[in-house]
Symmetry: C2
Subunit: 382 residues, 2 copies
Amino acid sequence: MSALRFEILTKCPETGARAGLLHTAHGVIETPVFMPVGTQGTVKGLTPRDLANDLNAKVILANTYHLFLRPGHESIERLGGLHKFMSWPRAILTDSGGFQVFSLDSLRKVTEEGVLFRSHLNGDQHMFTPQSTVDVQLAFGSDIMMVLDECLAHPATHDAALASMNRTLNWARDGYAHYLKREKGLHCALFPIVQGGMYTDLRKTCAEALLELDAPGYAIGGLSVGESRELSQEMTAVTAPLLPVERPRYVMGVGMPEELPLYVSHGIDMMDCVLPSRNARNGYLFTSQGKVVIKHAKYVDDGSALDPACPCYTCQTFSKAYLRHLFQAGEILFSTLATLHNIQYFLDIMRRMREAILLGEFPSFLRNALNPYAQANAEEET
Amino acid sequence: MSALRFEILTKCPETGARAGLLHTAHGVIETPVFMPVGTQGTVKGLTPRDLANDLNAKVILANTYHLFLRPGHESIERLGGLHKFMSWPRAILTDSGGFQVFSLDSLRKVTEEGVLFRSHLNGDQHMFTPQSTVDVQLAFGSDIMMVLDECLAHPATHDAALASMNRTLNWARDGYAHYLKREKGLHCALFPIVQGGMYTDLRKTCAEALLELDAPGYAIGGLSVGESRELSQEMTAVTAPLLPVERPRYVMGVGMPEELPLYVSHGIDMMDCVLPSRNARNGYLFTSQGKVVIKHAKYVDDGSALDPACPCYTCQTFSKAYLRHLFQAGEILFSTLATLHNIQYFLDIMRRMREAILLGEFPSFLRNALNPYAQANAEEET
């Protein structure tokens, strides 16, 4: 069916964590993995060679909503698919477009057939159906595609969450049926998404029902929508064990650096978040010594590296004083250097975590990882 | 005195062109050379490794006015100088700050002592004197510094141009005297600047008077201020032969790609301009097939390289369709890729020109270089 194959190398005996290899048509991804976000077919400020040679990212995420609107999936398909379009020879995961449609004001109308929305660019009306979002993502040639799902606002009543979950379930079935008809040797996998709001019974019902699809991987969606971090963890902890052990599990849109090990401890293999790249552009930098808010005047004459422990080009080459200058001057280079560092920081957490799992040391990693961050972040909160 | 040493390798027997080596404390610069502009201590959108490894730029220009205001020359000096601050181990030329002061509205008052101005950032009042701009540039540790000069608006009467030229001349003498007292093994050269508006007699008077300073190099300033291109060429053609044959000659703030060979034919060794980088960010790209205005709808499905003849990362990696997408989407990556290409284009013109001089083929290079550009530019003017 799809070219996707998941191989678990080691399971942590004390937690749900596992280290594996996710084989795709565009290379092997070491898991657990954090996927940098390339919304419009570019991880903002980075070249593909930065991503590959510097960061050694093996997979990035792109947003179907944005690329559907501009330049359009048909154009991307004519140009040879998304990998070729953006010159990214490694793996690509695309979301279904649902999250953007539901989070932007462009939302117009949800029916059983799909969701009618207006473009935030020019107001044009469009419809995403479970089938059409598969078609769009097949046109991209994504290695991992997502089914259309309804992203519920938080908080929601149990009734609303139930109705929404049922719609997501129906869309997943429709999307999957369409996918099975269309996907012939295209090497594109399709992941269903567990919804159910913040209700554990609905999460369970949804997860169990989605197992029928026998998908090569499953996602947990509808988190990071305004709920507490404890609640995101709880929903993940409840849902993950219901998903097939031998298939990759992806939590969408999380999380903070200190949360990454928690998700992994629940048995999550894949994560993505705009946090490292967006915070980078805003001058919020994650370091092994705590968060750095680069605009602070105390860095004006600080000739030291942003993070002495970091091997990235930014930290190996420039001082905090120079980074601050670039930020204050509104220079493009700041975004590039800051993004390079923040993503390196996230990927290095994942790499260290993976090594700990492989060495059977994940439980102590988990204990040690959380405390220093909590202290460091408390120190320099803006 | 200064570490600067100019070595002429070949002179064109038919024109004023020459190919040489400019030895600095931060490496050897092949001349004729075009210097990318890094206004605020960064060539906008490019990393130093892009500049060194991709473009093989040997020297860049930075603006004293901007760096004086932010982060300040004292901060840069404390941080080890401009080379270290911006992690650029190769040569740096800085202007005196005069051009910005005279071209921004911040100008307040010109006296014999210097120029009083207000910061465009916060309105603070500052003064540049012939001495202080030398001090500021010495704090940067620039390989090549420029004397303070008055940049006259165009057009100007002969009387106004004469008065201004005399002021520039006095400032050059004052600045030079100060420089000779201060520069002890600092390896920073100071270039005087020939002014005189668009009057050939004043240009001659100024050039001849500046020879007394026995400077290691001379600049021609006050061009590209609104005059016709023919007039810029004429002023250069008149002035360059008056400057010492064995010293490098620098025309400030020029020019269009098709003009570069003309300046070189007059005996110019160094040029700089924001044109390639600024036009890049605005989506105007120079190619061997003519100018490309990337926003044009005709590129939406154009999978071909921006310039098939160009060896730069942008042209070797991405399609016009992708570049157009990045431009339309306002992505940072566009600026990086476009700047990389445009500067490569300018530097390659210089490299080809230099090779032609060395091979004794400059006259035919000059003839061939001009016509294709004229045609290509006419084709796609917006």
